[in-house]
Symmetry: C2
């Protein structure tokens, strides 16, 4: 029986045109974060399973991780996220590293999603983290970078908004103001995290079920609903507005608005899944009616590095997936037309493969990417191949051209044909490359 | 108990300085192969296990593959090599693709090596393949590219040699000339593949054991040893020299020598492990006395795409691992000094974080990568941090600088300090960047 040509379910093949798009996206991501002084790191896609048992959300380790035993009996996982890995790497060199540490990576991550959802099981995710600064300036910078990335893709600030909340504010409300015990607080936070995916009635019923009778009678549900409905800090109950965790939010919002990030909004319902967040959290949200959804987010997680037995390191970071980002760019029509890396297709007339080499090598030495048709087919078919590949120029090389040292260059986009020396041709196709890039 | 900070055994963390080296190497690889008209593709690191059961060497599937069952009971493998994957992708679009197809990829590959060997379990491997051309020109091009990559890293042709053989010649010798049956031929070929890793006596004894008594008496061992000892085609027994498979080798060698690749040599002992090769095979070999070993190689494999139930596609390709290449570059002292992506470290005096933003953003808009110290520490400590990070310039921003719009720029490599406007500073650090790149 013939082998299947399909990739593993829920995973993607990248044909050159797909890879081109990915390279464009990754290039923009790298450009932006490097502009802010971040340096790239990487790590193995396999990690000891233990790494994920500590502080990630339970669901991920238990149901969604690709975990198995290696041939030596070690339990390993294909990484579902990068945060535990980067925390491990920082912990390993806790003393030697120079803080503030600004690191980024674009790892491939895997999660086992049930096939019927039609959801992908792998994606690539930009991870941006700053280690060693517990001041608000660090949180501000990460939010500014999230904004800068979007804008570097050409997005206007009306196309997305940034939601902001404070995990310490949530803890304060649940534990101190509403007097939920530790287990209740955890369950209520998880419920709020899912509230936008359910009917309001369902949410209220489930919230009610988490309360004790005396909490119910004391109006706990109503008080929480009121807090969660606040769309700005000034709509919060007055006694909360002066609390230190709200002041922090207030200062952050003001500073970001001052910097022109007027699309940052307070959102008391923002939880950001993972249990490890310890301070401000934020989420970039698509405002397009056809793609009204969370794009990516992050926040402060000061506790992870310390899990490795070293002194804790304050950390702020976010992760941004390529699939979600790609959807955003598509729906807002922000994707440029991309061309293949190859600029020139050399079409050969007759048996000149050997002599044509010299000419082609001269062109390559000038920095031109040249593919040569060595199929021995008719010149017509060679032109068609170049066209099908989307290569902009065809260079014709036959015996006559080789002896006169004048070669026909055809621009397949305009149909224009000119005869030139190789030096001139190198200049023409290079100049046009820069012109194309600017379009 | 604290979590371990170690990566999974046999796998590598890439701290920024390691990643920088990898980016340099990958950049050179991409530059070279794109110059020859190759386009990048990619595929999932997980593949259905079936993909490897067909034509790869047995050892790899049985003992060295990371294989497991996913939560849906599907058998999957972490890819140990890229060739089956790229064949699958070509087969899936057999009809639509425009040949000759020139593709490359730099995938991460995994093999389970026993830990006691101290060998790595993962590496990154450049894969370069041409599909759709059965003519010798295709084989020539791949060997030229292998040579061009080495030279693009600054290697001279005395630093490495390229061994060339023909799998069809090996088959002819074993099956027709020496009359080994199919099973014997397979075993003898495998033995020859390992011959340089064993004593000559051991090789002869094992070869002898594979022969029938009548083969032994007929001098089969001696005849094979004579053929294997030939260091050039003219040293082969005369009756073999005119055989079509040897003529092909002869033509290839002559053409490559004509193109200046004088370091390509015939080597009848070259087998190149994998069973799927069907024609010319080659191997790049380090000539350095401290690293005298095979670096990488490839050859023609015309049968793989056809395994997917479509018409076969002639293919030539090679794979080049990052670890082996890195060792070569190190031992030949071909690695340049690499600098961090960040050009400027902004040190802040006093409480100016907010006002400094404007200046720093101006610099970034000019294309300068700037990290800012938001730690609030003494200026002395900020300078030390920049130095530790290897960032070449420190820009000092305090209230005085902000009001005069003249900023101190210190070059940490020369100790030189100058005061300039931000526009001038952008020019200085950009100009020097280009100068550094040329060093």
């Amino acid at each position: 029986m013939a082998l299947s040509t399909q990739p593993y379910k829920g995973a993607r093949d990248f044909y050159p045109e797909d890879k081109r798009l990915q390279k464009y996206i990754f290039g923009k991501l790298r450009e932006t974060v490097e502009r802010w002084g971040y340096e790239e790191y990487d790590a193995p896609i396999l990690e000891p399973l233990d790494l994920y048992l500590a502080k990630t959300g339970d669901e991920i380790v238990n149901e969604q991780t690709y975990a198995f035993e290696d041939r030596g009996g070690r339990k390993v996982a294909i990484r579902p996220e990068m945060t535990p890995t980067v925390s491990r790497m920082v912990a390993a060199r806790r003393q030697e590293l120079a803080y503030p540490l600004r690191w980024y990576s674009i790892p491939n991550l895997w999660r086992y999603e049930r096939p019927q959802h039609g959801r992908l099981r792998e994606h690539w995710q930009l991870n941006v983290d700053m280690f060693g600064v517990d001041r608000l300036e660090a949180d501000m910078e990460l939010i500014q970078i999230a904004d800068a990335i979007m804008r570097n893709f050409g997005a206007r600030r009306s196309m997305f908004k940034i939601r902001l909340n404070n995990r310490r504010f949530v803890d304060y409300v649940l534990q101190k103001v509403l007097q939920f015990d530790h287990v209740q607080s955890y369950s209520v936070a998880k419920l709020i995290d899912r509230m936008h995916k359910m009917e309001r009635d369902t949410f209220v019923t489930q919230l009610d079920a988490l309360c004790t009778p005396s909490q119910r009678e004391g109006g706990t549900v109503e008080r929480l609903l009121k807090i969660l409905s606040a769309q700005r800090i000034s709509s919060l109950p007055e006694e909360l507005q002066s609390h230190e965790t709200v002041r922090e939010l207030q200062v952050a919002l003001e500073r970001l608005h001052d910097l022109g990030l007027i699309h940052v909004e307070f959102d008391p319902t923002l939880m950001r899944g993972f249990d490890y967040y310890t301070g401000l959290v934020f989420e970039v949200f698509d405002t397009h009616p056809d793609n009204n959804r969370s794009l990516f987010g992050g926040g402060r997680y000061d506790g992870l590095v310390g899990l490795f037995g070293v002194e804790p390191v304050p950390t702020v970071g976010f992760g941004m997936g390529d699939v979600t980002l790609g959807d955003f760019l598509k729906v807002h029509e922000l994707l440029p037309t991309l061309h293949p890396e190859t600029r020139v297709y050399a079409a050969l007339i007759g048996n000149v493969a050997k002599d044509a080499q010299r000419v082609i090598q001269d062109l390559r030495k000038e920095g031109v990417n040249v593919a040569v048709d060595i199929s021995g087919r008719s010149i017509d078919k060679q032109f068609k191949t170049a066209d099908k590949k989307g290569i902009p120029y065809v260079l014709v090389i036959g015996e006559q051209e080789l002896s006169s040292e004048q070669f026909t260059l055809k621009d397949l986009r305009t149909g224009n044909e000119e005869k030139h020396s190789i030096e001139r041709i190198a200049t023409i196709v290079q100049d046009h490359r820069h012109a194309d890039d600017e379009l």
